[in-house]
Amino acid sequence: MELLLDIVSWILLISGSFFTLTGALGLLRFPDFFTRTHASSITDTLGAGLILTGLMLQAGWGIVLAKLLLILLFSLLASTTACHAMAKAALRSGLKPHTVNDNDNSNSEEETSSKP
């Protein structure tokens, strides 16, 4: 039982690390701000979730488990709010999203395919 728990927690930690690294790589590779927010959101949802779940399995029943759960809950809530606030502030300040130039449903007049 102990061994099984260790193995599962190990797998969760490694896959969480992998997703976090993927998100960070996306932060470097994606072309503009709005696409980078998606990469950041990977590290905040699945990356943090898997790593914290892996730690929770090692914590056992007790106060440490409750605190880890609190961190997970709070980081999910805070990251969505921060992400939305950043995107909104960027749009308001005049940063244009880089979009593909086909007939998507964006009926806004600033449908530019490339930034000036």
Partner: protein, 90 residues
């Protein structure tokens, strides 16, 4: 077994810092700093298990709160100060 996540989180924090220094616009930098902060929280939690000292988790919670509030605060500041911030960066 906690050493691999700890090292990867350090690498990720390094990448986020790279983006914070490179980032063409102001918002890229704020995004990178936010990512850096949330990864710091995870890093503290992992370090806590690495060293076996559960007191660190409180620091992680407080850090998560401060990180969130600071990002919102910075955004409020730049949203209402002026639009020149973005133009300067470009």
């Amino acid at each position: 077994m906690y050493i691999i996540p700890a090292v990867i989180l350090l690498i990720v924090m390094g990448i986020a810092l790279c983006r914070a220094f490179m980032g063409p616009t102001l918002y890229d930098r704020i995004l990178a700093v936010n990512t850096f902060g949330t990864k710091t929280v995870l890093f503290i939690a992992v370090i806590d298990f690495l060293s076996g000292r559960p007191a660190f988790l409180d620091i992680a919670i407080v850090y998560a709160l401060i990180n969130f509030i600071s990002v919102i605060g910075i955004l409020r500041f730049f949203e209402y100060s002026s639009k020149t911030a973005l133009e300067e960066e470009n």
